[in-house]
């Protein structure tokens, strides 16, 4: 038998929908039999209903505020933190890959340029790359290249032609990185010498030995019995290939830098 005290507690649970199962059945049975508890239930139900009625008494007009707030909620784009982290990670990876590609490209450019300079020199001396213009005139060669190259290239004139230690044989275009480079053929001490010229953006000087002359870095290397002197100046990169016996690396510098003999 359930006592009245318990029923009084259960009344509120019942009205709040929190009474269930066996307790609910016992409660209903007791209420049906007990007038006093039934009266209490009615009083409490009236009271609870009275509180509920108050909800409509809380009057407010926030229509403008609500309209603005609804708009803000609808426009809100959730930030995806994990996505942001993922994006940053991707960006870092992309950057590292980019740097890798750049370094690879840089290294391959160096390798390619000196390799190509040697290859062109060999093919030219074998007669596999005939000259497209045969002349000893720097001006004629410069004019011939004009309009054919994507860069401005002019052969410097030797200050005193009577003391010129080399002889210009002619020039031609050669392929380099999907573009053209300038190849100039010389003869010095009765030995062939070629100069390959390309824009610095697609060719980098490279060599085991580095020398500084007139604030320019010169690189000297020997490969397959050929000497390669390479350098960059004013947006162009040069590679001079020759096979002089008893090689004196100062001599080729005379081609463009007449004072080289003194300073290099």
């Amino acid at each position: 038998m359930i006592d009245h005290k318990t029923i009084k507690i259960w009344i509120n649970l019942y009205l709040d929908g929190e009474l269930a199962g066996e307790e609910l059945e016992q409660f209903k049975q007791h209420i049906n039999k007990c007038t006093e508890c039934s009266k209490l239930l009615k009083q409490q139900r009236d009271f609870v209903d009275s509180i509920k009625i108050l909800k409509d008494e809380v009057k407010f007009d926030f229509s403008d505020f609500k309209k603005e707030l609804v708009s803000q909620i609808e426009d809100f784009k959730p930030q995806r933190k994990s996505f942001s982290k993922f994006a940053i990670l991707l960006a870092i990876i992309a950057l590292l890959v980019g740097i890798g590609f750049y370094l690879t490209f840089l290294y391959s450019s160096r390798t390619d340029f000196t390799e190509i300079a040697i290859e062109n020199h060999i093919r030219q001396t074998r007669g596999q790359l005939p000259l497209e213009i045969e002349t000893s005139s720097e001006t004629e060669i410069s004019n011939w290249f004009s309009g054919k190259l994507n860069f401005n290239f002019r052969l410097p004139r030797y200050p005193d032609p009577t003391k010129q230690p080399y002889k210009i044989k002619g020039a031609r275009l050669v392929a380099l990185n999907n573009d053209y480079a300038a190849l100039v053929s010389y003869e010095m001490d009765n030995r062939p010498m070629t100069l390959l010229v390309a824009p610095s953006r697609s060719a980098t000087p490279h060599g085991k030995n580095k020398f500084i002359f007139k604030e320019l870095n010169f690189y000297l290397d020997t490969r397959d019995g050929l000497n390669i002197l390479s350098w960059s100046d004013k947006g162009l990169t040069y590679a001079l290939v020759f096979d002089f016996e008893n090689f004196n690396w100062k001599k080729p510098c005379i081609v463009c830098h007449s004072s080289g003999e003194k300073e290099m």
Binding site: F47, L54, F60, K66, I73
Partner: protein, 174 residues
């Protein structure tokens, strides 16, 4: 999930505004409270899953913000008053009578507004917003037993307050 949750937030705005208005006592504070609640909820939408009770979650956020504001104002939000005078089970006003009698409704509303925060909020959550004891327990961060006992005290206190206010009005009239 975020679009569904956003819709639930929008649907809960009236309830949140009512709760905020009763708890803060003025419209501007209520607007600020609801605005901040929505902002925090939207920022944390990714913490919800399909089974989340968004409405209860919103009330929890709002209550936490409100409590923090109270702390900053150095006002204790927990003012549980166990000593309820004139404990009485009697309630001789039926809801129909209350619906007709505007003066009686206003007295009951005033009695509710005058309740300590801790009682006012639990009555609102239960009888205005129809949250279950379990939901209220989560919103308030207290055990189920506390919800039951606090609700009991809140109801008794409301009765006492109402009687005082209504009797005073009657006396003033006579």
């Amino acid at each position: 999930m975020s679009e569904k949750a956003k819709k639930e937030i929008i649907d809960a705005l009236d309830s949140l505004l009512r709760y905020a208005l009763i708890m803060t006592g003025n419209e501007e504070d209520a607007k600020d409270l609801v605005q901040e609640t929505c902002y925090r909820a939207l920022k944390n939408l990714n913490t919800l899953d399909e089974n989340s009770n968004v409405r209860a979650w919103l009330f929890t956020i709002m209550r936490n913000i409100w409590l923090n504001q109270k702390k900053r104002q150095q006002i204790s939000p927990i003012q549980v008053d166990d000593a309820i005078e004139n404990k009485s089970d009697d309630w001789n006003i039926n809801s129909e009578e209350l619906l007709i009698n505007n003066e009686m409704r206003q007295a009951l509303l005033k009695a509710l507004e005058n309740l300590p925060d801790v009682y006012r909020e639990i009555l609102i959550l239960r009888y205005f917003e129809d949250f279950s004891y379990s939901e209220i327990s989560k919103i308030l961060g207290c055990p189920l037993g506390t919800v039951m006992s606090r609700l009991n005290r809140a109801r008794e206190k409301l009765k006492v307050n109402f009687v005082k206010i209504y009797e005073k009005k009657e006396n003033d009239r006579s």
